[in-house]
């Protein structure tokens, strides 16, 4: 048996945007075992629910993550609304859908950029982020915040989008599809990229299901789980198919995210067509009493917000289970047997968001 060595990877590593630590047990250049450890950015945000009034906790829920902040807000608001039996106006549900899809676009483009950077493709990284900037501009224009939108609240949304702006947004996205196609071409057809991704970090369908992979990690392995299909917010009224790839390697996870860009554009266009006129919020009266599991689809996968109210204006308990947390066991499986040089690429394919994961 060859001599085993342990190489520490992270929490500070040039390719990692966020702090996760992996102890890589190596035999020569091959990884034989991985011991992940997290806990570098724990902020105790769940505990804050006991000190903030339940409508104000949305501000904190949104700040759990800097990338999918709007969707965190939606998940929390949905939970409280379900406990209090509040029906959100239809226009608010559609606006939530539109902003969620914009968040997904911006998150996926960010990831594509970081991923290109991890394989050493600087110009692709910058191109992806250049496109992302236009998505962020629309978010800032309509909500007031680039990454922390702050437009979701318990009982509806805070801001409305005018009909002209909605039309312009749909047209802009249609125009951006060409740019998405350009980067898709590079990611999926360039030989250099393909060489780094094909057959690397394989995760079988059975493993993905049994280890609890969610989001693009699961869909890249052929498990067609997409929480948007449950029809929360306005997704029930929109037509779409989850993007699924079957190979289960880094290439297919990347392809899933690229295809989801087009799904998001399509969903926004459908929502803009169908959005009804009407109020954007309902009045919230009383305090929540009861508990609820709110499940939504984040760019990274399934997000669960658990809320428990005790009849006061402070919630008794809030618990968040983020997609990155559930994607760590599949990550360990993917890393076992890979080459040391492929570790950064594989770690990035689960789109780790450790800030979310530890809260």
């Amino acid at each position: 048996m060859p001599k085993q060595t342990v190489i520490p990877f992270g929490p500070q590593h040039p390719v990692l945007p966020e702090p996760i630590h992996l102890d890589l047990v190596m035999e020569d250049e091959t990884v034989v075992d991985v011991l992940p450890s997290i806990g570098y950015v724990h902020r105790g945000l769940e505990r804050l629910v006991e000190r903030r009034e339940f409508p104000d906790y949305v501000y904190i829920a949104e700040r759990i993550c800097g990338i999918c902040s709007f969707i965190h807000g939606v998940a929390y608001a949905q939970g409280v609304e379900a406990v209090m039996d509040i029906q959100v106006p239809e226009r608010a549900a559609y606006l939530r859908t539109i902003w969620s899809e914009y968040s997904r676009l911006h998150s996926h483009l960010l990831w594509l950029g970081l991923f290109a950077d991890s394989i050493g493709f600087e110009s692709l990284f910058m191109t992806s982020w250049k496109i992302r900037e236009r998505i962020l501009d629309v978010l800032e224009e309509t909500t007031g915040g680039r990454v922390i939108q702050g437009s979701c609240k318990v009982g509806g949304v805070r801001r409305d989008i005018s009909a002209e702006t909605l039309d312009r947004m749909a047209k802009d996205l249609e125009a951006m599809k060409k740019e998405f196609k350009d980067i898709k071409e590079v990611f999926l057809k360039d030989d250099a990229v393909k060489h780094r991704l094909k057959g690397v970090g394989k995760l079988s369908k059975k493993d993905a299901y049994e280890l609890g992979a969610v989001g693009p990690t699961a869909r890249g392995s052929g498990v067609a789980i997409d929480l948007r299909k449950t029809g929360y917010a306005a997704y029930g009224n929109l037509q779409f198919d989850p993007c699924v790839e079957t190979a289960g390697d880094c290439y297919s996870r990347c392809a899933v995210r690229l295809n989801e860009l087009f799904t998001s554009v399509d969903l926004v266009k459908q929502a803009v067509k169908k959005i009804p006129e009407g109020p954007i919020e309902t009045k919230v009266v009383g305090n929540p009493s009861g508990e609820y599991f709110s499940r939504v689809e984040q760019p990274r996968g399934e997000l669960i917000h658990y809320v428990k109210g005790n009849g006061t204006k402070y919630l008794a308990r809030s618990r968040v289970r983020t997609p990155t947390f559930t994607n760590i066991p599949p990550l360990v499986k993917m890393l076992t047997g890979c080459q040391l040089a492929d570790v950064p690429v594989i770690v990035l394919t689960i789109d780790p968001c450790i800030g979310c994961c530890e809260r």
């Binding site: 104000d56 501000y59 692709l124 909500t143 007031g144 915040g145 922390i148 350009d182």
Partner: protein
């Protein structure tokens, strides 16, 4: 063949204008709804401290006796909560960001005029009761 697939984009980028902005020499992009920084029209402020209670980061400090309103700009996260809760609409959100700094500045303090007229005092009480 999948070689040099990005060349087209690179050539386009090389010939085009830069996509970045020379901030802070050139001002950042801003939109009407952008949340830049909180402005308090101190003449209208009744020092009810509703904003202080709403603030998720404890950036605002109101002293009712001294009639001062203080904000720590680096603590503020521009959540717009204080603006929504203000009973007299003296707080507004400006769409311009505050200038970048290299050292932590002292909290910005605004001082109201000393309380003289009775009606003003009554308004404060009324808002307290409503709450």
């Amino acid at each position: 063949m999948g070689l040099f697939t990005i060349s087209k984009t690179i050539i386009k980028n090389a010939l085009g204008k830069p996509a970045t902005l020379m901030y802070p020499i050139k001002p950042a992009k801003k939109f009407e709804k952008s949340r830049g920084h909180v402005v308090n029209d101190i003449k209208r402020c009744i020092f009810c401290a509703a904003c202080q209670r709403k603030c998720p980061t404890y950036a605002i400090c109101v002293n009712m006796k001294e009639r001062t309103w203080e904000i720590d700009r680096l603590r503020c996260v521009q959540c717009n909560g204080c603006v929504e809760v203000c009973p007299v609409k003296s707080l507004t959100m400006d769409n311009q960001y505050t200038a970048p700094v290299t050292e932590r500045p002292v909290p910005e303090q605004l001082k109201g005029e000393p309380k003289a007229m009775k009606p003003a005092a009554k308004t404060t009480e009324e808002t307290e009761e409503k709450r």
